[in-house]
């Protein structure tokens, strides 16, 4: 295997596919042609990719929760509850952590223990273990469009099973499901394995089946500057497009400063369109997803509702195509379905109250959009250069060089040299840009912003400032003041 950003031949794909389908017994249940036929029967109102296209056209922001439990019937009940009681526009199946590590035996154990305990002992839905037939029971019993949401570095078998079973959207990517979700899996391997998933999606597209793909925007969800996650999102979009994916949703996790958050979604869409056009990927649809606050939440539910509402407001003003919703139990672990539905309804109310309002196009907003785009272009163009014109190769080299660097990543392949902190107005900036290939004026912009805050607080920027920022929201602030 030689990693290249080049569409796989069908032979290459099929050779690997034979291996993939053998990695767990349920792989035998996958039949691509039959999967295509089944996908053709999914009606538009339950079709994730089509609902996104429609929402984009109408300027709507759709709501989507996270949710998944071990057993099929419970999972069906959970999702239908979120649809009816939570008024969710889009539904997920969040996959359990064992499946994410391809530990299907442990997942099986979790299923059995859950059966015994009478409650889910897994933190998600083990779709691989349930196989095509089991997963289809979900597709057929749930009144809504379904997406697989996970965090799986090697998600090939999961993709085969869930797409054949009728799922019309699949989250993840070779960078975004490695750096925040793995410790020592190489980027070469995960990018390669995700080319598989994209090629599979592309294969469905060749057969007339549009399946939505969504790189995971927020990465570590902790003070990630927009330009970094945007660079990753655009690269993963390009890698997917090269393999034939036609319906892509780029994502971003709320930072908390309203102007920066609105700017981020606008910049993300514009950067996506720009780079897709630049590299000749044109017959596709790009949409955006805004993730409500991914960092630590206040334990108090009343305060959590405020954080959720603020995320909903930013999502609505940014005109993102969809918003991923948090719950008032966020700080306390995996939420009950009731709490999940409450987060959804809080969000829906806010989106509806704001849908007719327009956030003014101000010079502050324009500046943020331009900064994010300029920074992201620095990174993207350097990645392209490092790869000698190949984003896949360039990405591996860029992470080695720290040209791409994600704060607080568990992966040893992220250099972890950059340090983010909030500026005096709560926008996320970098007080150490590490090896990011920024121009001197961009570096100066960040330094000035951090210096302004440090001066206001009468202390130097330090790791303690970062820690203060990480705990700030859960302690009821945005900026972690001393």
């Amino acid at each position: 295997m030689e990693l290249k950003n080049k569409k796989w031949s069908l032979d290459e794909f099929n050779a690997i596919r034979a291996e993939v389908l053998k990695t767990w017994p349920t792989g035998e249940g996958v039949n691509f042609e039959e999967g295509v036929k089944y996908q053709e029967t999914i009606p538009a109102k339950r079709h994730f990719a089509k609902l996104l296209v429609k929402a984009k056209k109408n300027g709507e922001t759709l709501t989507q929760p996270r949710a998944g439990v071990a057993l099929i019937d419970e999972h069906i009940n959970l999702l239908n509850f979120l649809r009816t009681e939570g008024e969710a526009d889009l539904l997920p199946s969040t996959i359990d952590s064992y499946t994410r590590q391809n530990q299907y035996k442990e997942a099986q154990n979790g299923i059995e223990e859950s059966l015994k305990a009478g409650r889910s002992l897994l933190n998600g839905f083990p779709a691989v273990n349930h196989g095509v037939e089991g997963v289809r029971r979900v597709v057929e019993s749930v009144d809504g469009a379904l997406q697989v949401r996970h965090g799986t570095p090697d998600a090939r078998l999961l993709a085969e099973i869930t797409m054949a079973a009728g799922y019309t959207s699949y989250e993840g990517g070779g960078i975004s499901y490695n750096i925040p979700y793995a410790k020592s899996v190489s980027l070469e391997k995960t990018i390669f394995d995700w080319q598989y998933c994209d090629r599979l999606t592309g294969l469905y597209a060749e057969h007339g089946i549009e399946i939505n793909r969504e790189p995971f925007g927020p990465l570590t969800g902790t003070l990630v500057p927009p330009s970094i996650s945007h660079a990753v999102a655009v690269i993963e979009g390009i890698l997917a497009a090269e393999q034939g994916v036609k319906n892509i949703t780029l994502g971003y996790g709320q930072c908390g400063n309203l102007v920066q958050d609105i700017a981020a979604i606008r910049a993300l869409e514009e950067l996506g369109e720009e780079y897709m056009a630049k590299h000749g990927y044109q017959d596709m649809v790009l949409t955006t997803v805004f993730h409500q606050w991914m960092g630590g939440f206040p334990q108090d539910e009343a305060k959590a509702f405020s954080v959720i509402s603020w995320g909903a407001a930013a999502a609505a003003f940014s005109k993102a195509t969809k918003v991923i919703v948090k719950t008032p139990h966020e700080a306390l672990g995996i939420p009950t379905k009731e709490a999940n539905a409450m987060g959804l309804r809080t969000t829906k109310q806010m989106i509806n109250m704001l849908k007719d309002q327009v956030f003014p196009q101000t010079k502050e907003l324009e500046l943020e959009i331009n900064m994010i785009k300029a920074e992201a272009r620095c990174i993207l163009d350097k990645v392209f250069e490092l790869g000698n014109g190949d984003y896949a190769v360039g990405t591996v080299r860029a992470f080695e060089a720290g040209v791409l660097d994600v704060p607080f990543a568990p992966s040893k392949f992220s250099l972890n040299k950059i340090l983010p902190a909030r500026d005096n107005y709560g926008a996320v900036r970098l007080f150490d840009v590490g090896n990011l290939p920024f121009t001197p004026d961009i570096v100066a912009f960040h330094q000035d912003k951090i210096a302004e805050r440090a001066k206001a607080e009468g202390r130097a920027a330090s790791f303690q400032m970062v820690i203060d920022d990480i705990y700030a929201i859960s302690k009821g602030r945005l900026v972690g003041r001393p």
């Binding site: 359990d96 952590s97 064992y98 994410r100 590590q101 530990q103 442990e106 154990n109 979790g110 223990e113 409650r119 889910s120 002992l121 897994l122 933190n123 965090g151 925040p180 979700y181 793995a182 410790k183 570590t220 902790t222 960092g295 630590g296 334990q299 139990h329 700080a331 306390l332 672990g333 995996i334 939420p335 009950t336 709490a339 607080f408 990543a409 568990p410 040893k412 790791f463 820690i467 990480i470 705990y471 859960s474």
Partner: protein, 136 residues
């Protein structure tokens, strides 16, 4: 060579939540401990092996993703079998799936042989204070 007291730090099981781990690492180091940080996705045996190799005084286990009940069970037995049955075992995070009464959760994990059980949202200061007390 330092004479600092050594503690093992890691996120157990199939869990890859790294932020708290990095903060705790920073706080423990700043407080004068030598931290052997195993990072995320750490199996039980790796905790035990690291503790034996470094002669650590405590193992600090985190579990943030709700599988704690399955992942953490049996760690004390494994320590006993490896001859370090008196080592301090702390555990904290979102230990179970779902919002639960923390008193119940604490009881369950104390019964599993952990010396301290921390609720979600516990700050590093609390862990440092307990460690200082327990290592006196």
């Amino acid at each position: 060579m330092t004479n600092k007291e050594k503690v093992i730090l890691g996120v157990i099981g199939a869990d890859c939540h790294a932020v708290g781990n990095k903060i705790l690492n920073h706080a423990l180091t700043a407080a004068g401990y030598e931290v052997i940080n195993l990072g995320v996705l750490v199996p039980q045996e790796e905790f035990v092996n690291a503790a034996i190799e470094t002669d650590a005084k405590a193992i600090l286990v985190a579990s943030l993703y709700g599988h704690g009940e399955i992942d953490c069970r049996g760690l004390r037995d494994r320590c006993r079998e490896a001859g370090i049955e008196d080592i301090l075992l702390y555990v904290g995070g979102n230990l179970v799936v779902g919002k639960s009464d923390f008193t119940e959760v604490e009881k369950k994990f104390l019964a599993m042989g952990y010396d301290k059980v921390y609720a979600p949202g516990t700050l590093p200061e609390q862990v440092l204070a307990d460690l200082k007390e327990d290592l006196k």
